[in-house]
């Protein structure tokens, strides 16, 4: 490694070191308050390094590349990792989610059943984020695989951190399914390597355009078709997309709620980031785009419909949110399917990827607000059924407000970020000649209204058996409040995120060359 490599990888290195520091603080002080504080304040180190790479405060590689036009200045470790603006956008998102998770779990890790494992809890979250930071900047298949494993394994331990029957069940399920999906993914990678002779995404793209094509076969070859299906299946598990969604409700119900909040937002964002990078960099040829666009469109339609339909009959709030995240993954997939190549006079403005990035960021704030409110409520009521939320408005107006706002945003009510995100994503689908998919999406939003509004009805209109008032612990309340405010602000001023996303996309090489 040269000094330049350290520089490019600096956010990931800082995050890994922070994980080590956190676990050391736990070993020395045995104080969970100190662990949370160190982890939360320590997150400023990767944040500053990420900001530096974006703005080039200290003469960073990414900016130098723009100025000089030398292509590989931004990449490190023999071109396996590239911290471009696309990666940095997701770094910011992941750091925000991590900060929220640590804040919201401060009280949880200090609780009686967790205080022996609190340091491990925070450290494992940080290690998983390290994997995600590498994952979103990986430009090579083997690096992607290794980063993916680093992302998944800490979450397995986190899901099973309570030695309860449910915890072990959810951990085991997650582990086995994660291993199977990794195997499928690797098989797909092996086909790609066998066909093109390279694991580097940009080189794969070059070779795919040169190699002879069979006319009439999607992707020009059955081997590549099979590989793409396997890769999508492998990441489909992480994105919680139908038909790879079976683990979601069980894991969401069994795992500790802060873990679920982290899992539902961070892993999903990282998986969507890497699938977009693979698709646009390795399969970014306009002819190939058309082929995988159809694949994602079908997945999106099935995922939305099944997620929403299954959510209708849920009585447990965590299971309901599990199915809700499946449906949300379907909406995001609409954006992945809306490729610019389908457009007349294709440009990137208003195309799918920008919508995906906006949706993911908005969804992160919204979902965190909902989950943090649920953490705050269930830690007091010890009841995670929907009836347990009855009359919440009288018992804890502030938490009820945050929860209702978050649910309205998930549903897609204006002026929340959920509404604007759906507008952008469905709009990009219409731009990409996928009007039928936008219609399916809108119909699904109506179906989703039933179960989101059912929860809101319980909160606002039902009477509680136990009328005692309660309020939340400060850190989790702050986290939920900030997330809700974020969801509101980005809903009212979508251009803040959209411009940010557009800048991030301008750096993806294949998008520029492929059009």
């Amino acid at each position: 490694m040269t000094a330049h490599d350290y520089w490019v990888l600096s956010p990931a290195i800082a995050m890994a070191l922070l994980a080590l520091v956190t676990v050391s603080v736990d070993l020395v002080t045995r104080s969970m308050a100190k662990v949370s504080t160190v982890a939360f304040l320590g997150l400023s180190a990767p944040l500053i390094l990420t900001l530096n790479l974006w703005f080039g405060w200290f003469g960073d590689p990414a900016t130098a590349r723009e100025a000089t036009g030398v292509a590989d200045l931004g990449s490190a470790l023999f071109g396996t990792v590239e911290t471009d603006r696309f990666a940095l956008f997701f770094d910011f998102l992941l750091l925000t989610v991590t900060a929220g998770t640590i804040l919201a779990s401060a009280k949880y890790i200090a609780s009686e059943r967790m205080k022996d494992y609190g340091g491990e809890f925070v450290s494992l979250v940080l290690l998983s984020v390290t994997g995600m930071i590498v994952l979103v900047s990986a430009t090579e298949l083997i690096t992607i695989y290794v980063a993916l494993e680093l992302t998944a394994l800490p979450v397995v331990a986190l899901a099973a951190i309570h030695r309860s029957k449910q915890g072990v069940e959810s951990g085991t399920k997650f582990f086995v399914l994660s291993a199977i999906s990794s195997a499928i993914l690797l098989y797909g990678f092996a086909y790609i390597y066998g066909f093109t002779g390279s694991t580097n995404l940009a080189v794969i793209m070059e070779r795919l355009t040169v190699l002879p094509n069979d006319a009439g076969v999607p992707f020009g070859s059955y081997a590549v078709l099979l590989a793409v299906i396997m890769i999508v299946a492998g990441f489909g598990f992480k994105m919680a997309v139908v038909p790879w969604q079976m683990w979601v409700p069980d894991v969401y119900q069994g795992a500790p709620t802060p873990v679920v909040a982290f899992l539902s937002v961070a892993s999903k964002a990282a998986a969507f980031a890497v699938i977009m990078r693979i698709m646009y960099v390795a399969f970014g040829d306009p002819a190939l785009m058309q082929d995988w666009s159809g694949l994602f469109a079908i997945l999106a339609a099935v995922t939305m419909t099944l997620g929403n339909t299954l959510a209708l009959s849920q009585s447990n709030i965590k299971r309901l949110l599990g199915y809700s995240t499946i449906a949300q993954a379907g909406y995001i997939l609409v954006g992945v399917a809306s490729v610019p190549a389908n457009q007349v006079g294709a440009t990137f403005a208003g195309a799918g990827p920008q919508g995906v990035m906006y949706y993911l960021a908005g969804y992160a704030f919204t979902n965190l607000a909902v989950f943090f409110a649920v953490i705050a409520i269930t830690s007091r009521t010890n009841d995670d059924s929907i009836e347990g939320l009855n009359g919440l408005l009288k018992r804890s107006p502030l938490l009820a407000g945050v929860l209702v706002f978050g649910l309205l945003s998930l549903l897609g009510m204006p002026p929340t970020v959920g509404f604007m995100a759906k507008v952008v994503v469905f709009g990009s689908a219409i731009n990409a000649n996928l009007t039928w998919l936008a219609v399916v999406g809108v119909v699904n939003t109506v179906i989703a209204a039933y179960y989101y509004l059912r929860v809101i009805r319980a909160i606002v209109f039902e009477d509680a058996e136990d009328e005692t008032k309660f309020s939340a612990d400060k850190p989790v309340l702050v986290a939920a409040g900030v997330a809700a405010i974020g969801a509101g602000v980005f809903g009212l001023a979508p251009f803040l995120l959209l411009e940010f996303a557009e800048q991030a996309l301008s750096i993806l090489p294949a998008i520029v060359t492929g059009l």
Partner: protein, 137 residues
């Protein structure tokens, strides 16, 4: 060309045949040797007992051993892998230090710090204690 190809399989078959005949031949010779009084067979209770380092055996059943061994197995693997990583680094250090300078030394120290934190963790979490607080209580 095909002849060459199958000739390679012939080598494999010869090797497999040798691998089977040699042990069978040795056992058969040993069996036949007892008829000419070279290898008399006089079994006794002591001869047929399990061999336990020359001591009289304590029990004949497969012994139970403490599950805690797995901590040691895990720690052993970690530190063994550490050594395996250090050897190639040490051998190639001269070349690397010319190319990368101080970074060649720094990289391995980062690695060592990571392993040391793991060691401190195991120590502090009583993974190295044979009798833990759980047993005492």
């Amino acid at each position: 060309m095909f002849e060459d190809y199958f000739r390679q399989y012939a080598l494999l078959i010869i090797f497999a045949a040798a691998a089977v005949t040699v042990p069978i031949g040795m056992l058969t010779m040993s069996y036949l040797a007892q008829f000419i009084k070279v290898r008399p067979s006089r079994p006794t209770a002591v001869k047929e007992s399990a061999y336990e380092g020359g001591m009289p055996p304590f029990s004949s059943r497969p012994a139970r051993f403490n599950f805690r061994y797995y901590y040691y197995a895990l720690l052993f693997v970690v530190f063994d892998v550490e050594t395996v990583f250090l050897f190639p680094w040490a051998v190639k250090y001269g070349v690397m230090s010319q190319q990368f300078g101080f970074a060649a030394l720094g990289a391995v120290f980062i690695f060592l710090i990571v392993v040391t934190v793991g060691y401190a963790y195991a120590w502090r979490k009583q993974a190295l204690e044979w009798v833990t607080n759980d047993d005492r209580s």
